[in-house]
Subunit: 221 residues, 2 copies
DNA sequence: CGCGAGCTTGACGTTGTTCAACTAGAGTGG
DNA sequence: CCACTCTAGTTGAACAACGTCAAGCTCGCG
């Protein structure tokens, strides 16, 4: 188990903590490895821990009867569970591993106690929550206002800019995953990607997507 | 101008402030009345103030080329602008008055300073932001997963339970406003409301809506 | 080499938008 | 007090976007 005081890829809020607080965290956490496809947080389960992704890629999604909706795909440094702190006692989303993922799970009461007492930590959390809110606002606007091709374009830009941070990337996501991100039928994801390929905007080779014409993608978006 | 220390309908976070901090707020705020239809916050404008609704009803919405999307309708006690604090320097939404509205506008730097230094205030803000996030998650799920009749049902329940807090209420919202809340064409709002009326779920008399069969509404939702 | 899950393609159906026309009601000026 | 106008609300029909269904394909893996 890593000592939080020495952790190199901890979330920014932990930089605000004293050695004392950090050791409290160290003593109240577990580190767990999840394999691709495994569920990390199950929607509606009791909110007992806060989760920090140390490595790997996760998707945060809402489960519905017919269809899931993916709200976010994120990697190292992302944090989950704070939003369930005082809202109700249960997570209102699920979290799953898209590839092999390493996660720190910290007892919710310990974190709650720190937020209540450490102003630096608390201020950092406010800023993180604000970012989450603003992303959600973009998301709801994107899904409800844009048509399918624009949503695919948005997603490709997001994956390229913020998830894989490369123009060309091998996805850990299936076509169905892409459909759950863009709120489309899987078949239409395929069709739209094909269209983009024919317009020479992207190049598809199996799970690898290369963005060729970034500008055209922005236009669609 | 009201002294914040004596204000009866201030947001909960202000209960955490010292007399000293409260007088700082009092000295850095303005109180403004807006008439029905007036814009309070304009999307993309410089984020210079935090807004507290003391009375009246407001809608928070996103402006798009073709269509606006209303994210929230809220009354007394609601607070806007915190989310723009450190995200970027501009509001990414608009706020407008649905009837006559009384608002406190507090300088953003003053609030930022308080959040940075007052742990009680900061903790309260964290909880408020969590609530906002969870509402947004419901919203995005509702808009993207449910069909029109369910969205109308959801909206009616929301208006009845949380906005007007009555089974029967005279709306300050036009059919177009309802369309922007549910992300529908105005025509379809009219049709769906008519359908509900024929099924004896609601009663319509001009701007007055009465919910007759709450259970059926929940079923649709 | 064969199996199966995920991917792809085309045809078709449904939902909800758009358009155009009409109605009702509120405000205005002669 | 009545025509006039303007806006919000309403209705029906045509249309488009997207989802659904069914079938075939591909590739990795045993």
């Amino acid at each position: 188990m890593t000592d939080c005081a020495k952790c190199k890829n901890r979330a920014s809020c932990f930089n605000e903590l004293s050695i004392n607080d950090l050791s409290k965290v160290t003593n109240n956490k577990v580190e767990i490895n999840y394999k691709k496809g495994e569920t990390i947080i199950k929607q509606n389960s009791f909110a007992s821990h806060i989760y920090f992704v140390k490595s790997g890629l996760v998707k945060m999604y809402i489960e519905n009867k017919n269809k899931n909706l993916t709200l976010e795909v994120a990697g190292s440094g992302s944090m989950y569970g704070i939003t369930s702190l005082n809202y109700n006692k249960n997570y209102n989303f699920s979290l799953a591993a898209l590839n092999d993922v390493h996660v720190c799970e910290i007892n919710v009461e310990v974190i709650n106690n720190i937020i209540k007492n450490n102003i630096g930590f608390s201020y950092d959390v406010v800023n993180q929550l604000n970012t989450t809110i603003n992303k959600l606002i973009s998301k709801v606007n994107c899904l409800s206002q844009k048509q399918t091709s624009a949503r695919i374009a948005d997603m490709l830009i997001e994956l390229s800019d913020n998830v894989y941070k490369k123009q060309s990337f091998i996805m850990d996501l299936s076509r169905k995953d892409l459909a759950e991100i863009t709120n489309m039928a899987t078949e239409n994801v395929v069709r739209t990607l094909k269209d983009f390929e024919q317009e020479k905007i992207i190049k598809l080779v199996g799970k690898k997507i290369s963005i060729i014409d970034y500008e055209k993608l922005r236009k669609y978006s």
